[in-house]
Symmetry: none
Subunit: 421 residues, 2 copies
């Protein structure tokens, strides 16, 4: 079966000059892939009319769907809209719905619409306006001779909301796409090559209509199973069967599926167990709390945190003993245990998490080099700890520390399930 | 002066399907930009001969230099080399220097060269081989009718070493390149269109050799000035002069330049003033602390935080009065003021920041809809507050809240400079 083809066009000098990393088109590719639309080319063009028009022309000769991001701002170097008008040979006219959207945004801000912004409500006559509820630039949908051109803002979160809520569903209704079923399997605590060795026997017995892709990320490896066919229920059964087999080989590393995030999975488990949690953070500087509160509804189980960068705070708000800090130092198993146990007691929660380490790039020593980090998880039964030896990269260290302490908690919660069973 | 133009072609299905984020072309763009070569297009093509050849053809019609990455592996789906041979109408022949490079690599590994790898030493007759000292795929340099085509491996560190050590210098010797100077000006607290209105008079008086570009992001707008000429010092002076003029119009919104981030700029100001800071966070859930501690050396001024999600923590650790919470609610100016002032006192810091609001997507009310957020900044002289009316998107709200309270602090620090002066 021939797949529907799409091309992605990114408009903007800032990307060509390397000032911005284009993450939009990768995100779009994945979303298209997930609904069985095949991206056959990506093009980035400068803020120059002739180049933009040429890219519209050439993409239209190859693909069924042309997705355009960027160049929709209100300023003089934003050319996508005039280019679309001339490409589809029509005028820019005031779009009442677009103006209404603008009005909503400006009412919220309690501001008057400026003339420059008012111009953003003028859209090519031939397009269907696509509402933007988080920004001032509307999207545009053109459909002519079986081809669809869609124009979206370049600001990632505006584009993503527009794609997810309006454009992807519309594309599925307009084009006949095959049945594709994806399953993302998310693992943590094991490197890509070790995982590959562990599951190679499973990988080799996969049926032809199910493909496996490795998607390694910082601190985690995601596996994506893609099943292609005609009957969704059948595909789901086939994939579910393969996931069962996989779990026998690598179950302990699998924390979730599809849209699951580690904080989400932990949140569900804490909610179902009726447990509350608090954190005491030194080197992670609030990253663990931010991560736990990234999911809505986290107020049901997350109570609060003490970020204790300065040792004085470790003593006053967390009650870490001065002699512990003197004898073992702030970056030690002893300190991190007291932090986890005391934050649990002081904030009256069931579980306490703690981190302490040298995030870097400076501040290391012979005995405790940059990247030396301790994490701990304390509950009513016991306190578990883990030592990490990471890198010189501060941001990566903070991220990996956050994942490590959350994974420690995840393992502990799984253990509790075991105890109950 | 006409710039030398370059196009970047990336070969590979894995990028089109979104399995890999293409970071190579951004890196290449930056390097070209730094030596005054202008990237005018980026194209990603699949592992399909016809598409690859079409991209070579079209790029050659537009640009002087065509840089190609990927598709040089030893496997059957690596088509760049055969495509280059047919594009330049020549045979693949064994390259002695390429074979020598391979030999070196395999000697290092203490392995025999496999036949598959031996094939990698066969290169198009018309190319100059470019040595790859860290991988098995040689680069290729083609020069015909004033156009240069360069093919490089897709593995980032192999490509980067090849570009830095051999290709960039060679391009500079073959083409006459101008001097280019970029200045990024980073603003916060004003939308793109208001900024555009505010500085339009300045924009219109910019000399021809200095171009302006708007680069909007979540919560901030960056302006990029690009100056082109022959003399770097002269260009730097011209740009500095324009930046001075801009500051008269929009100085209050400019927080930094080039690689500056808001936490970095704030960190520098706190350090120079010898001030310390702490945060009391509700809806931002640790994001402000994480942001402040993202820069190395932050332990000099950041002492700690209390994340008070639960009202009990607001009362116990932050001493917010129960009657304040009852009469005005947790999301109120009154509460956020007490949070900021008390965290400052309790953690013995010079400055206290606070946030409280409804991050969403749930939990809003008639009177306080989702996105209603209060932020505060307290110091020894006064406490300033700001009310935000944001969106339904939890992550965006947390990010924008963090920026808003940091910007409040930035403005207060600037005010202190004024008081001193």
């Amino acid at each position: 079966m021939k797949l529907v083809n799409a091309e992605i066009i990114t408009v903007g000098d800032e990307i060509l000059y390397g000032q911005i990393l284009d993450t939009n088109s990768q995100w779009i590719s994945k979303e298209l892939d997930a609904i069985g639309i095949k991206a056959i080319r990506k093009t980035t063009v400068p803020d120059v009319e002739a180049d933009i028009l040429e890219s519209f022309e050439q993409a239209g000769n190859r693909a069924d769907i042309i997705l355009i991001t960027g160049g929709l701002g209100p300023t003089s170097d934003d050319l996508t809209k005039p280019c679309l008008a001339s490409f589809f040979d029509c005028e820019l006219i005031l779009s009442k719905p677009a103006l209404k959207d603008l009005q909503k945004i400006f009412d919220k801000l309690g501001r008057e619409i400026t003339e420059t912004n008012r111009q953003q409500a003028y859209l090519p006559e031939k397009c269907t306006m696509i509402s933007n509820r988080v920004g001032t630039a509307s999207g545009m949908w053109f459909q002519e001779n079986g081809k669809v051109y869609v124009s979206m803002p370049g600001v990632p979160h505006e584009m993503k909301i527009m794609m997810t809520e309006q454009i992807l569903p519309k594309l599925q209704s307009v084009f006949q796409t095959p049945v594709i079923y994806h399953k993302l399997i998310k693992t943590i605590g094991i490197g890509e090559s070790w995982l590959a060795d562990k599951i190679s026997s499973w990988e080799h017995q996969l049926p032809d209509h199910i493909k496996l892709a490795y998607m390694p990320g910082l601190g985690e490896v995601r596996l994506r199973l893609t099943a292609i066919g005609k009957d969704l229920v059948r595909l789901q059964e086939d994939v579910a069967d393969q996931v069962k087999r996989l779990q026998l080989l690598a179950g302990e590393f699998i924390y979730g599926f599809d849209k699951d995030t580690l904080p989400m999975v932990i949140g569900r488990s804490l909610t179902s167990k009726g447990l509350t949690i608090s954190t005491a953070e030194s080197c992670s500087g609030g990253s663990v709390a931010k991560s736990l509160t990234s999911t809505s509804g986290s107020s049901r189980y997350f109570t609060g945190s003490v970020i204790a960068y300065h040792n004085r705070i470790k003593e006053t708000l967390l009650g870490v003993k001065p002699e512990t800090l003197i004898n073992f130092g702030a970056v030690s198993e002893e300190t991190v245990i007291e932090m986890a146990e005391n934050v649990r007691t002081n904030l009256k929660t069931d579980i306490g998490l703690a981190t302490s380490g040298i995030a870097g790039p400076d501040g290391g020593s012979e005995e405790k080099p940059v990247g030396t980090i301790w994490v701990a998880c304390a509950d009513h039964q016991k306190t578990v700890t883990k030592k990490l030896s990471l890198y010189k990269d501060r941001c990566a260290n903070i991220e990996l520390t956050t994942q490590a302490v959350l994974n420690l908690l995840r393992q502990r919660l799984a253990e509790m399930d075991g105890e109950k069973a």
